[in-house]
Symmetry: C2
């Protein structure tokens, strides 16, 4: 069951389902490194626990944690959440965990990407990242799922899919010199076909400004369901996001998805950026090899960086001016799901959001059962047309 395959998902008829399709569970990691999270990560651990608790109302949650933090994580998390020993260099399961793929018979397998801490020695966020490199395999062993070992660097947060052959990503991230310098856009399209089952790649340009992942798509937009996306948006010309979100809007508007549909685009307000306070910065250990967190640094929050569970949408609470408005908007777009807000400032201070710290495991459903399951449990996910 835990074998590593020599083929590719496309070879075997596997493709990545949409996040809005039924899940059998969700994986997270437990934050602890004191050079990224203030006060030895205690405040952010509470935020991670809130995210896990919210998702656990919807599907089983497993949290990987180092040996040293095991007892603390177990104590801070509700009993219904599974806590497993699983070492990592930080806590970004979306990027270091497996990306799951499924075939028509409902079999689930995992893709284990190459990982270099968002840029390796040329702009990566910390050194070393050896433990992160093993996370996907360890998750797949526990899940008893066969593994595809992808031959190129990719992060789960660098892609979104509609589960029907469309993958959306950004040029800024995927074509960055510090990821796969030997692979051009065409080669990457072939690899995304091979490892995600993508038949249509929609390339957006840049990610949100100040994103230290070199422009992950999951800070910029997400799918509601096939044909319908949420896009971070600002009307303020002084905001550096202004040009980025307009370009994304234009590209999305001019694209067709894998089934030749045009995208319906819903705009999400851009919350005020989180500026690290002096007190917050003082709580972070200095470390030579780690991306610094200084007072005044701008952390890019985005409402698009949410998690779509079977029966919940877990959204970040980022800005009192918009939180309620966004929750109402999401409630309309996800009418069968409960919208749960979690205070996300502590997570943002470490460089990401709720989507970045989670990774869903698709339910082992056949294509037909999947539609039935979706209709019952998650009817929001039925295609827009």
């Amino acid at each position: 069951m835990a074998a590593t395959l020599d083929t590719t998902p496309a070879d075997d008829g596997f493709a990545m389902p949409g996040e809005f399709e039924p899940h059998s569970g969700c994986w997270m990691l437990w934050p602890e490194r004191p050079d990224n999270w203030r006060l030895s990560a205690r405040p952010v651990q509470q935020a991670f626990a809130s995210v896990a608790t919210a998702i656990a109302t919807s599907e089983p949650v497993s949290v990987g944690v180092s040996r040293r933090q095991y007892a603390n994580a177990r104590a801070m998390l509700p009993a219904a959440i599974r806590v497993v020993e699983l070492a990592s260099n930080d806590a970004w399961m979306r990027d270091v965990g497996p990306t799951f793929v499924r075939n028509a018979a409902g079999v689930i397998r995992g893709v284990h990407w190459q990982f270099n801490a968002w840029g390796g020695l040329q702009g990566g966020l910390y050194f070393p990242w050896d433990r992160d490199c093993d996370v996907a395999q360890k998750v797949l062993e526990i899940e008893n799922r066969e593994r595809y070992r992808a031959p190129f660097i990719m992060e789960g947060g660098a892609l979104h899919t509609d589960g029907q052959g469309t993958v959306i990503t950004t040029e800024e991230c995927l074509l960055h010199a510090n990821r796969n310098p030997g692979l051009d856009q065409g080669a990457l399209e072939i690899l995304m076909h091979e490892y995600l089952g993508a038949s249509t790649i929609v390339w957006l340009g840049k990610g949100v400004p100040n994103d230290e992942t070199d422009g992950h798509i999951d800070e910029l937009m997400t799918f509601v369901k096939p044909g319908v996306v949420l896009l971070t948006w600002t009307d303020s010309k002084r905001d550096p996001l202004y040009a980025v979100c307009r370009d994304a809007y234009d590209r999305l508007s001019q694209s067709r998805d894998a089934r030749s549909r045009r995208f319906t685009i819903h705009k999400l307000p851009q919350p005020a950026p989180v500026l690290i306070t002096k007190q917050e910065a003082a709580g972070i250990d200095a470390s030579a090899g780690t991306f610094p967190r200084r007072a005044g640094d701008r952390m890019p929050g985005s409402y698009a960086n949410l998690y779509i569970g079977n029966s919940v949408v877990v959204m970040p609470l980022l800005d009192r001016r918009y939180d309620r408005k966004v929750a109402v908007q999401l409630a309309k777009l996800f009418p069968r799901r409960r919208i749960v807000g979690v205070q996300a400032r502590e997570i943002l201070l470490g460089g990401g959001g709720i989507h970045c710290i989670t990774q869903q495991v698709p339910a082992a459903l056949t294509a037909k059962a999947g539609r039935i399951g979706a209709a019952r449990a998650t009817s929001d996910a039925s295609p827009s047309r």
Copy 2:
């Protein structure tokens, strides 16, 4: 699912099934400590891999391994064996892992014993044993099984059960001053009733000589099925085992089990003791807090320390004079199981045997289905009368 319960197994109608009943899997740990295993544990890792491989032909095997040894264990074990990160102080899953219990509806839960490294600061085998204390919980989290936290020290190797209410143990181990000095024999019987569902406790006297666990029952005897046991035996009056096995035989002969049956006792030959060679001793790191392994030390091998899987019996190969004879004897007693021998010297050098390094997970069967399953897959396990 991973909750810790405030009740006891007996409160809730749970009891430990026999090892010969159907399993859903088997757990092991990966040896690595260089102060107990020679040559940084490389030779014994091969032996553990052979045991795991043999059991994996019968049922799914999971092996817990430290972060540092993860890649090595993954490389040395076949792909079909699940490897999970799980820290321990040594590798004795029988004693540090959970003991599983089942109710009439087929629900499986785990008992997490207190553990003090076979004697704590008065005769224990190493210090510290903090990681061992967490192993059972970590296994139960991965298994998604609810947990009973027993309030007293016990090791899985200190007990055997017929799954019908009978538990066999030794006075030497359970009544040892370094285990539960505040609990007398009567109190321990009550606790074994509460945590194993035992209605009849058969107390043998001593375990095999030179056993550093203070006389674990699993070096002395094992159940073939209810009413039928295998007992280590010698006819040599000069062997210190002579008095021990005669006393065990007498006590077993005079006992009735929980269903008022007398025991049928099959005798297993005692293999020659393993004497640690000078070369072997030289391969072990010196360490102040760990039980020493010196040239000439006698390690007690026993054919009774075997593992009964769904379709195999994994037996130790210990002595060329007897290995074949014992295999034939086991083949007759377990007619529906394949008898697989594994060279066990390297395991013995660290202080135990095949039973000591394994822990079965009972199948989630109802009492009725269990009989059906046993009749089909493991008919050896049907009661003797």
